[in-house]
């Protein structure tokens, strides 16, 4: 059960290793002028063929990050400091559109102030982050280019446990003469894997492809392909323990990645589907284990949500959604990842010994549909409501939720969509309008300190309005 928490920290440590390797030159560059074996060479296999097909579309993603160090939430009232730390990161990605659309992991580009991409032929481009989705660990980048080789996307719906799984990455593409991707191989060890972390900050990762191909920070963001060279998943090292040496790597199913990518391309943000059901997580022990097989007990229905409109009640047990049988809350999480805003789904619930077919129309998360207040054309905010608060697990009772930020504000303030602004200087933020007022009133008079909640922690950031 503690796998994920462990994984997260190992992955971070590993990131440093990879960089160490890079600067230390601890790898063998491919010798210039080496001859490729003839097409009929017995050394050619289904693997080398698959690699040959996908390799041209695999790229290196390099980032520069300025990290902000969190401060203690209580210290904020006494003007606590924010630290800053600069670091470089590296990962992989793959080209999905010949005009320069690239898919990678969100964690590869998270918080990056600069992102660049190196192609297999050594060309490098500076990249724009079109959007990223931390929940699914996916990001979409764009470089200005044409006629690029693209990866063939397969489907993750019909994966065979035991079929070849080839993980590609290109972590060293910035080094001349080292343009070949790195390849690790294995099989699809499992599908629909749900990983549960424990303790603070540990997440739940659902419906992942498990493979024994080594997945590491270097090939993270790169493609996991089948024997036909079609992408079946996006490697993700934050789910995978270090180096894959214990035969446990995870990738995000390509079907989910396709959906998220489409959303990011169309809306610049993932349209988060909203149903408004909070499942009850079973207790530990035998009773809990039994409960993991008998459906999803509804703990809370968010007021005003699609589930509430559809008449779902606390205590209902969800047993089926569309064609997915729901045995436990993780099945529900997996279902949510596949749903799209606007989709109409039918959920079968058990209530008082009867079964009911409940039609629900999936909405956009309230952040997306709520009216917004525009601040200085750079920041779109909305007032924290009980619904948003429950939905996102925000701790602060009042505040303004960041809906959109300009690149400049994102860069200078370190703000991200989803952050909740709770205080400016010494004034608590009551709602979105307060932020506007405080900024326009006090902006003239020098520096402002902004406090915001992200992932349950409060951070601060100083800025001056020009």
């Amino acid at each position: 059960m503690a796998i994920v928490a462990l994984v997260a920290s190992l992955a971070a440590a590993c990131g440093d290793d990879a960089r160490g390797e890079l600067t230390g030159g601890g790898f063998a560059a491919r010798e210039a002028g080496a001859q490729a074996p003839a097409p009929n060479s017995p050394r050619r296999t289904v693997i080398t063929d698959a690699v040959g097909k996908i390799a041209p579309a695999v790229v290196t993603v390099q980032t520069e990050v300025v990290e902000r160090v969190p401060i203690d939430p209580f210290e904020r009232f006494f003007g606590g400091r924010t630290g800053e730390r600069s670091a470089a990161g590296i990962g992989s990605g793959f080209i999905t559109r010949s005009d320069g659309v690239i898919v990678t992991n969100a964690h590869v580009v998270a918080g990056a102030t600069r992102v660049s991409v190196a192609l297999r032929d050594g060309q490098t481009f500076s990249a724009r982050v079109l959007g990223f989705d931390e929940v699914n660990d996916l990001a979409v980048l764009k470089i200005d280019a044409r006629g690029l080789p693209t990866a063939r996307l397969g489907t993750s719906d019909d994966l065979l446990v035991g079929e070849w799984a080839i993980a590609l990455g290109n972590p060293y593409g910035f080094l001349l003469g080292n343009s070949e991707p790195s390849v690790t191989t294995g099989v699809v060890s499992g599908v629909g894997r749900n990983l549960v972390g424990q303790g603070q900050g540990a997440g739940v990762y659902v419906d992942m492809i498990q493979t024994d191909a080594s997945i590491n920070p270097g090939n993270s963001g790169g493609p996991l392909v089948n024997a036909q060279g079609e992408v079946i998943g996006v490697n993700s090292s934050i789910y995978s323990p270090s180096g894959g040496s214990i035969g446990l790597g995870f990738a995000i199913p390509i079907n989910r990645a396709k959906r998220v990518t489409e959303d990011l391309l169309e809306h610049g943000a993932v349209r988060r589907p909203w149903v408004g059901i909070k499942p009850q997580f079973p207790a530990a022990g035998d009773a809990g284990r039994a409960a993991l097989r008998s459906g999803v007990v509804v703990h809370t229905v968010v007021p005003g949500s699609p589930a509430a409109t559809a008449g779902i009640r606390a205590g209902d047990v969800l047993v089926k959604s569309r064609s997915r049988v729901l045995r436990n809350p993780y099945d529900w999480d997996a279902e949510l990842l596949e749903l799209r805003a606007g989709e109409r789904l039918t959920v079968v619930v058990r209530r008082d010994g009867r079964e009911l077919a409940v039609p629900i129309t999936v909405a956009d998360l309230p952040e997306v549909s709520a009216p917004k207040v525009q601040v200085m054309r750079e920041l779109e905010l909305l007032t924290l409501t009980p619904a948003i608060r429950t939905e996102r697990g925000v701790r602060s009772a009042r505040g303004a939720v960041v809906f959109k930020v300009s690149d400049r504000v994102a860069e200078e303030l370190g703000l991200q969509p989803g952050d909740v602004i709770v205080q400016i200087n010494r004034t608590p933020v009551e709602d979105a309008a307060t932020v506007e007022k405080l900024i326009s009133a006090q902006g003239q008079r020098g520096a402002l300190r902004l406090f915001f909640e992200r992932g349950g922690q409060v951070y601060s950031s100083d800025f001056i309005i020009r």
């Binding site: 008449g311 109409r344 039918t346 010994g353 079964e355 009911l356 077919a357 129309t361």
Partner: protein, 306 residues
């Protein structure tokens, strides 16, 4: 699982486009709404999950609302009760749950009692051509889909095949007698107006509907299905814009998809219909469930349903 055809140990009286009718005995019929769906007069190969149960249970719900005001044919739409009455059906319980209704057999009046609360379909055509509806003049200047107040009784023949033909009220009088004609009109209007009001409050416009009546030794009874999406035109109220045709609450995704298939030259508009993609089947099922939930205020009970 959706059910397209039933095969029960009873005498089959008829298979309609959607419903299978069986004879239980001289006095009773078993009406089974299957999950078949038709569009543009073609019955599709795919069945729509929950559709049959929606039709049957919605009919039962309306009749419960009308209890005491209209005498009707329904004995029970509850599977436990039906199996108690007709034990031979026990093995098919899961297939019949929700979908079947046990009814008093009646002698059917050969008339479709259509009520129009909005000007649409063939009624709009008639009005546009000559300013009348069912042969009676209507105010001038009405646009397509305009609301009609009061609603209009616009009877049709019960054609065995092909389309029902609109007839005049005079014609109805000739067929059933003046007194019965007046009673059929009165009952049709009463039930429709009741239905229109209830549905409107829940976001559904019942634009028009068709009732059937029969009689037995006790008198006239309301028979067949009542105020269902299949016997009526349901429109989403929030999309209502007079002056054009309205989307169908229940069948629009299906029709739009079929239209596209036809325009792409992949379907000639005749049976057999093209195979429906799962998304269209799911969307249609959702619409029927949604119509049920809105109108009755409850989700469809699917306990024991196969």
């Amino acid at each position: 699982m959706a059910i397209a055809v039933t095969d029960l140990p009873l005498d089959l009286v008829r298979r309609g486009k959607v419903r299978d009718v069986y004879s239980v005995d001289g006095a009773r019929l078993l009406l089974v709404a299957t999950d078949r769906v038709s569009a543009f007069d073609v019955v599709m190969d795919e069945a729509i999950p929950y559709k049959g149960a929606v039709l049957t249970q919605m009919t039962a719900w309306w009749l419960a609302q009308l209890e005491g005001q209209v005498s009707h044919h329904l004995i029970s739409a509850d599977i436990d009760e039906i199996v108690r009455e007709v034990p031979a059906l026990a093995p098919q319980r899961a297939e019949l749950a929700g979908r079947a209704s046990l009814c008093r057999r009646a002698t059917v009046f050969p008339i479709e009692c259509v009520i129009r609360g909005y000007l649409s379909g063939s009624a709009w055509k008639e009005y546009r051509a000559g300013g009348t509806l069912a042969g009676e003049p209507l105010p001038s200047g009405l646009v397509e889909s305009a609301r009609l107040d009061p609603p209009v009784f616009s009877p049709a023949t019960k054609a065995e095949s092909g389309h029902d033909e609109n007839i005049t009220i005079e014609h109805v009088r000739e067929v059933v007698g003046a007194e019965t004609a007046a009673e059929l009109e009165r009952l049709s209007l009463l039930v429709y107006e009741r239905g229109r009001d209830i549905a409107a409050r829940r976001g559904i416009i019942i634009a028009d509907t068709k009732f059937e009546f029969g009689y037995d030794d006790t008198g006239i009874r309301l028979i067949d299905e009542i105020l269902t999406p299949d016997s009526s035109r349901f429109w989403p109220a929030d999309e209502y814009r007079p002056g054009r045709p309205q989307p169908s609450f229940d069948k629009q995704p299906l029709r739009d998809w079929l239209d596209a298939e036809r325009q792409a030259g992949r379907w000639n508009g005749e049976a057999p219909g093209p195979p429906l993609p799962p998304a269209i089947v799911a969307a249609t099922s959702h619409r029927y469930l949604d119509a049920f939930a809105r109108i009755t205020g409850e989700s469809l009970d699917t306990t024991g349903l196969a």
